[in-house]
């Protein structure tokens, strides 16, 4: 759903998205620790697998994004994970597109990174499982809503004729946000118990 295909967006949006994505990826590369590469690649693969599962919602379909989880676990490397997974999907399955790679990367990764920055410290520091659960849910849900908002924004900036469709897009993201909030919270709770090191965007 967040995979905008080639042929839809206007040139300024494509170029702008591309530049933003390049900045994010550069930041991610700059701060990437060698030893984080396996984890980043693994989450990219998880993202890839998650988005092959389409959940029908009304006239549209949504799939898991896991951006909030990536934000908490990877920090800025989320840009890299999303870029790589999207490239792989475009090349192997024709999902999304090549020219929209930048826009899609920003739409998915940016909210995740922001959620990770905002809620990650709380998730790591708190000793209360209920607080962690709530923060995890918030990270998962907000990241999805952020993506929905950015997808709608990309459509709206490209052509005013897309406005009504963009509104419906946002609506379809609401149920996904709920599902992701639930899933992200439970995964984060599990990791906190079993492998707390994984919640820190730093090499073990």
């Amino acid at each position: 759903m967040a995979h905008i295909p080639d042929g839809l967006l206007s040139a300024p949006v494509l170029v702008g998205g591309g530049l933003l994505a390049a900045a994010g990826v550069a930041l991610g590369l700059h701060r990437l620790d060698e030893r984080m590469i396996p984890r980043t690649a693994l989450l990219a693969a998880a993202f890839f697998a998650g988005s092959l599962v389409a959940v029908p919602v009304g006239p549209s379909s949504v799939h898991l994004l896991l951006a909030g989880l990536m934000g908490v676990m990877l920090g800025t490397a989320t840009f890299l994970a999303v870029l790589v997974a999207l490239l792989l999907q475009a090349l192997l399955f024709g999902f999304g597109g090549l020219t929209t790679l930048g826009v899609n990367t920003v739409n998915i990764a940016l909210p995740g990174v922001l959620c990770g920055l905002a809620l990650g410290p709380l998730i790591r520091a708190t000793a209360r499982p209920s607080v962690r659960l709530a923060a995890g849910a918030l990270a998962g849900g907000l990241a999805v809503l952020g993506t929905g908002g950015l997808v709608a924004l990309s459509l709206w900036l490209s052509s005013s004729a897309y406005t009504p469709a963009a509104r419906v897009v946002i609506a379809t993201y609401l149920p996904l946000a709920l599902v992701e909030a639930f899933i992200t919270a439970s995964i984060i709770a599990f990791l906190a118990r079993v492998q707390p090191g994984a919640l820190r965007p730093a090499a073990p």
Binding site: M1, H3, I4, P5, D6, G7, L8, L9, S10, A11, L14, V25, L29, L32, E34, I37, P38, R39, T40, A41, L42, A44, A45, A46, F48, A49, P59, S60, V62, L80, A81, L83, V84, A85, L87, L88, A90, L91, L92, F93, G94, G97, L98, T99, V151, A161, Y162, P164, A165, V168, V169, I183, S186, I187, A189, F190, L191, V194, Q195, A198
Partner: protein, 245 residues
């Protein structure tokens, strides 16, 4: 894939030029404004794709459209103002709106065809060196190759854990026990895959891996590859000019 087949893959299309060509064509196609040119481009791409005798899954890919495209097709005719075409209750569809929807459908289809025809049947393992050949940063190339590999790893781990659950009489239902068990499954899957990823990387380092896959020198592009790139350039330029005329 065998040792022999690796050695024999050299007389193959050069992936670097393929990637560049695909990108140029997609960039040009995605910016078309007029329906006739877009339709002509789609026909040309379709013919070119059919000429290569692709498998049935290429055509099936065309049918896979993202939900919001359907949404666009449904709303555009009614939201773009213009010459009325027909009305449906209080809504009036405009000729411009229908045209715009058709334009988008044509462009998206053409792009999907180009992408799948040029790069659809490529093994991910071969894309790594091609990306490196295009001077993509080494870290991204490694991520790309590892991601492709971990896909299989995740699938295998998931299958084994699910079998273990079934063996102990797990039956999914709508109750807390089921949800919690699925939570454990996904969580453990992630934990195990993370650790496995880490250990596989360690095993590679122990065998002299230094962050680069031992890769064979890229075969230099053949004349056919260059011809393909030139063709792509000409095609892209032609549709763009025709579009602006």
């Amino acid at each position: 894939m065998t040792a022999g087949s690796i050695a024999q893959t050299s007389p193959q299309r050069d992936l670097r030029l393929n990637l560049v060509a695909a990108f140029i064509v997609l960039a040009c196609l995605s910016q078309l404004h007029t329906l006739p040119v877009a339709a002509a481009a789609l026909a040309a791409v379709g013919l070119a794709a059919a000429w290569r005798r692709p498998g049935p899954q290429l055509w099936r890919r065309l049918l896979h459209v993202e939900g919001f495209l359907l949404l666009l097709f449904a709303t555009l005719p009614f939201t773009l103002p213009g010459q009325p075409l027909f009305s449906l209750g209080p809504l009036t569809a405009s000729v411009e709106g229908v045209e715009r929807a058709a334009l988008i459908a044509t462009k998206v289809s053409a792009c999907v065809l180009v992408l799948s025809a040029l790069l659809g049947a490529v093994e991910p393992a071969r894309l790594g060196p091609a990306l490196r050949g295009l001077h993509v940063p080494e870290a991204i190339v490694r991520l790309f190759v590892l991601t492709a590999r971990y896909l299989g790893l995740i699938r295998d781990e998931a299958r084994r854990l699910q079998e273990a659950m079934r063996m102990r009489s797990f039956r999914p239902g709508t109750n807390r026990h089921s949800w919690r068990s699925y939570g454990h499954l996904v969580g453990m899957l992630l934990v195990r895959a993370l650790e496995r990823a880490q250990r596989v990387e360690e095993a590679m380092r122990c065998r002299g891996y230094e962050g680069r896959f031992p890769h064979l020198p890229q075969p230099s592009p053949t004349r056919r590859d260059w011809a393909g790139l030139v063709l792509a350039l000409v095609f892209g330029l032609a549709v763009t000019i025709a579009d602006r005329l």
